[in-house]
Amino acid sequence: MRRFVAVLLLSPSVAYGSVADVFDVGKAMGTAGAAAATSDDGAAAFYNPGGLGFADRTELSVGAEAVRSELRLAGDRVPLPRPWGVLVLGTAPLPLAGVLERKIAVGALLYVGPESHLVVAAPASTAPTLPYYHNRSERLLALPVLALRPVDAVAVGVSANYFAGVRGAVEGDQVSATEIRAAVQEEFYSQASYNAGVQVRLGAWRAGLSYRGQFSVPVATSVRLSINGKPMTVDLRAAALFTPETFVLAAAYDLGRLRLAADLSWRRWSRYRPPFPEIDATIPPLLPQGGDTVSIAATRATVRTRDVPRLALGAELALYDSLTGRAGLAYEPTPFRAGGGLANLVDGDKQVGGLGVSYHGLERDGFRFGVDLALQAQWMTFRRLAKDPAELQDELPSVPGRQTTNRGYEAIAGGGLVLAATLSLVVSWPPADAAAGVSP
């Protein structure tokens, strides 16, 4: 029996970026992400898991989050695929007694796209790309969180950024000259990184310290084919959907009905790996008349990045007892250094503005109902990336001049606006022991 073997090993990284990393979630969208010192609902799983320790009510928030891109690259508008999803935030102080009363809380942040749990889109190394927005939010986000409040003024917490990796194999047996029988083996393995934080509340002051782990797994694909006895091998490696390790130092101060907050983040983009697949291939002669087997090494495109700070300033104003307005501004310089070689990654400084409003004024039988609305605008400064012709290989030496198919030559520019919005319905109720007659 002749053998036809095709093996495709697929182990893509599947859980780096998330919608929270790029566009913020929940009420924090209205404060441009300034939330590490104040967040105490399910969104604390991302901003500061310690904040959940101050939750005094069980709360469930269900809503939607959507984005719209007006980004432009090389003169073309760049839409963001799969631009909306369902956002669920949950908070529950555990009904414990004695020394543990009001000391432990659990919660979760869940973002689910309507179509897919995950999309990995690793572009070719010379494809023009906006790396800050490309394929960084197209995945399910699930962050369960546990928080402890050992003393009244201090709470600590940890959350798990949980998702799956994929690896597998495809095999085909050629059982006759005209028939192949194939098998697929795939494994979706779980993986997680962790967020942790501490939040302190002393009088009018609040402070927070938060850590978010880098979450990355490399892509590795190996294809081995033998077509009518002619072997073909392709090995592929890539990294996509990168989100950097982040440290956040935050403070907030209450001025009566007004609360001011500031978050200073340090984002370790220097560990960035470009998403381009790298390949090594051996291609057999495919024409019936034969020919030579060809070996081609991978294209090595390098990208230079640096760590960057992100500063966010936010304000919350209690307009009435149950109506709160929010606003915020943030700035993050680009982590991408000039001079990209073959690559065409275009990124500029980001300026972020947010507005939000919450109404939680409907109470009945111990339940409190409300609505949260927030809007955010992100402006990425236009940046022009010029190619040095000396860095590009002459693809047709027989033709006068330097011939190249690199789409970034001579220069490429990109930037523009991204709009995001979120709307959630919220219901909360006090712990059972504090609400006589209520049986939620």
Partner: protein
Amino acid sequence: MTPVLLALLFGAAPDQLGFSAAGAATAGAAVAEPAGASGAYYNPAHAALAADAAAVVGYGRALRQVTLDGARQSLAPVDLVSLGLSIPARLPVLGRFGLSFAVTMPGSRILVTDVVPAGRPRLLFDANRLECTTIDVGLAYARTVGDIELAVATGAAVLTDAAGNGTTFYFRRSDAYAQADAAVEVELPVAMAPTVAALGRAGDWSFAAVFRAALEMDVQIGTSAEMTIGPFAGDLQAAVSGTDFYTPARLVLGATWRHVDLSLHLAAEYQRWRAAPPLTATWRTRVEPEGVPVVLPQSTPVPQRLDDVVVGRLAVEQRWPLRDQVLTLRAGGFYAPTPVGRDAWAVFVDSDHFGVGLGLGLDSTALAMVLPRPLSLDLHLLYVGLRDHRQTFAGVAGEVPIRIAGRLWSGGLGLTLRL
């Protein structure tokens, strides 16, 4: 003989091993009155009638032994973690509602899929059917009509497909220039199967009906190459597709009779296997050089025949109130005919199987100083046997007789916290 790939074809892990220790001990028969948060899987309508919100965390391990023609197959143990949450809520104006959420996860893996070629025997008592995370969510509504409490629920079982454009390679080579580049696209689309459930209580009786639509995972993996290599210029495309984790549409009818501290559970489950799509992989290859036709082999479909079956389940629970605790003993069993016939045409190997479960539960207030509500600890043991069975298998080498026998042991524990 041809290596046997491991898959348990007759349903997701909770169907075979039970959801939580209480569910496993009652062999899945307690559909009308599931214990605690196990109703999040067995009957989402139960959440609206439950007295308390409850969360259950369970762990179980299954050991399997299968022989084919007397040769023992190597089957690794399977670890299962169960999480269940059931929240009844009496909302003002709107009435009594319930939310339920059930997750079963096989150890550190979310799922392992194995779509086999048509020429290999596929053992229904197989590993990768157990190694699949299942998520069930439900929303229930209840009201009282006369002396009857009625609850209805709708929900879904959530899984993923594996699809996408796969990998695209670009190769260009001439005498003086060589370039290779690639782009990868992988997508895991959301796959859901709806669930509808109803539960009624009247006096000592409870009745339930649960319908679950078929759940399956469609796998599509492709690779393509655009090549300009010397005189050759053209495309090469290869794709593999298949269906795995097929769990048939099911209609479960159940009843529970209570007398003081004794409960009897009965359930009958109709499984519609005849609607199963081809559960083997299909291969497609195409090479399109400019102006030169190349003929390559392709997959051809293999006939598949599965029959609908009815699974019967029966269980008993007895509670003994002690001083500060309540002790519960549980026992249950089920019998499941195989959907695979004895004749040829089938690419699957299977036999009828039966299960017997035993369990012990303890509701305790011993931790009242920190837990104001009782904490429940449940233990279970489950034995599943495959009846010694001979059938004819249609493989690559033609029709061959094959004999199968096997058994499974499962044990575990669950902790229920009332909120």
